[in-house]
Symmetry: C2
Subunit: 357 residues, 2 copies
């Protein structure tokens, strides 16, 4: 494998947002959907118990199969060990691989459809983790897409499968269907109305997990919340996906109500909140990640409510991505420390918002 | 006295800043100077011990004398009891009378030269408190001006005077010369470099008092500090004035040094500070007094350092005044509560800064 291949491929990726952030296609509240399946190859050790040799052999065996998947035509294959820290950050920030994956050595790889709508991790927690992603609420379609990918792989590989349990996985929480369906929601209305905690509680009781922008263990930075199923066993994929979809639509309604009440009850406060966000984003000289996400979230809500104008939501969504440390350093063309990143971030945001306006 | 006279006179005043805030005449760091004398009329009770009848009689006796002072040609005479709350606030905000004066009833009055450079309070803590004010550092001239006013009054009135003690006053701290010389300084450099406290300590040891923007007991809002002499006894007015002038010039140097080191050592931080101030002042929809003064202080410093451009310092100094509650309500034409004031303040600041730019 050409050692520069990974780098060039990442260069290509950062030129535009992934198709799951496609301009105009998300609904404001429901940002994107994702469905992933966990699979393991029969007769091989799970990655955590495998030697490097085992891992390399598995990747070697899977490579030709994944490389010619119908669904991924001409995919990008990125070996983790060939990527530098910045490139790994970029893949994480684009939701194309997990943070855990960045720590893996030889034998681990990510296979990507060029529009980023499909990503397959080899030798992360399981042998194969495949996902399909798209803007807006699109879980049923994504399930069909990833099911087709799964079937195509299964026609070439024998999966670890138990007739009683279903698909076997490294962590018991994934056993059965191995499915995790998730939806990213922008919920500033519920946050600003102080109603988000009761919603999270209710949703948890219904067997869903609520996570932050970058998945497990992260904050809901920028008021972005990821909702996903917890159970993978004892139900069909269709039931799991439909239940999530139903709850997402309910939360979407709650958020719309929250936004309306925000305008009615706290109109001055919210106009001030939006104005300050615009003022800071277009005038600050140093912006850290957290504040940037908060301000972009305000700007995004202001646009959705029609109180702020002059920008498109897709521009703001792109900034959510471009202001992350990996993307920022890629745009700067070099690795830079935190203070310089804050300067570069403020410059980028300022220029983009003023150019676009 | 025409009961509308006070109101109309205040209307006139608010049309422009007082001469002590005259466009372009202050130096940035040294904003304005003031010299006041405390005097009492021989054989009359001090105001705190006087009856309303006593006070009214004293004002009646002083009125013709103060009304035809050479130095004040055609003065404005405002009886406190004829002013409403908003008008009193305006006089306080313009440094033409004390906050204590606003609580006084019949017999208390303020006599103003029309350009506001001379103001005389009758029946505040003492029978007569006369002040001269001007932009920049101008203490010796102000002392001469107010000395002339004092001599003119003294040629018509017998002051309470002791050959041993000098002029007698209601509070022992003013006995002797009855002089209080003060200078308003804008010291954001020393504040941002965390050096202001050691300066205040040193200055206090030299027998000076350090107060906030609105005098005794107020915060140094907007990084505005008032320096004045503490002692009034045992030294001539010239010595008192010259010592204050000398210390003010030293602090001016310290502030200049502080500003230079701020640029050298915290350049990014300070550019961010300025940028955010501009962003918030031009985009917020609600601004309280305190935040407004802080942001205007940053803007003022940014202009002085040449990092911000497009406005003149005098515009910012005018906003320092116009955004105070009394002036703001006068501009709005009615008494309004705190939230509405915050809205009106933000609107005023936004419009002025955008119009001026």
């Amino acid at each position: 494998m050409n050692p520069n291949f990974g780098m060039k491929a990442v260069d290509e990726l950062v030129k535009q947002p992934g198709s799951w952030l496609k301009v105009g296609e998300n609904t404001g509240i429901i940002v994107s959907s994702r469905v992933r399946l966990a699979r393991n190859v029969c007769g091989r050790r799970f990655p955590a118990w495998a030697s490097e040799e085992d891992a390399v052999r598995l990747l070697h065996d899977l490579n030709p199969i994944l490389g010619r998947l119908q669904a991924c035509r001409d995919p990008i294959v990125l070996e983790i060990s060939s990527l530098n820290r910045m490139e790994k950050e970029i893949l994480i920030e684009r939701h194309l691989m997990s943070r855990d994956m960045a720590e893996k050595g030889k034998g681990s790889a990510v296979v990507l459809k060029r529009d980023e709508s499909i990503a397959i991790m080899v030798n992360e927690e399981d042998h194969i983790r495949m996902q399909a992603m798209s803007p807006g609420l699109n879980l049923r379609n994504l399930w069909k897409q990833i099911d087709a990918v799964d079937s195509e792989i299964e026609s070439n590989v024998e999966y670890a499968f138990s007739p009683q349990m279903g698909y076997l996985t490294a962590c018991p929480s994934n056993v059965g269907t191995g499915i995790r369906a998730s939806v990213m929601l922008h919920l500033p209305g519920l946050v600003l109305m102080n109603e988000i905690n009761s919603i999270i509680k209710a949703v948890s009781k219904m067997g869903l997990a609520v996570r932050g922008l970058w998945g497990e263990g992260t904050d809901a930075a920028g008021n972005m919340f990821q909702l996903s199923n917890q159970t993978t066993l004892g139900e069909t994929e269709e039931v799991i996906v439909e239940r999530l979809e139903k709850i997402v639509l309910e939360i979407d309604e709650h958020e719309k109500n929250g936004r309306n009440r925000l305008l009615e009850q706290k109109g001055n406060y919210i106009r001030d909140h939006f104005g300050r966000a615009v003022g800071i984003l277009t005038h600050a000289h140093m912006l850290n990640s957290k504040e940037t996400l908060e301000m972009l979230s305000a700007l995004r809500l202001g646009l959705d409510l029609g109180i702020i104008s002059g920008w498109k939501r897709a521009m703001i969504d792109e900034l959510f991505l471009l202001t992350q440390p990996g993307h920022l350093q890629k745009l700067e063309g070099r690795v830079i420390g935190a203070e310089k990143r804050d300067l570069a971030r403020a410059r980028l945001v300022r220029q983009r918002l003023l150019d676009w306006k």
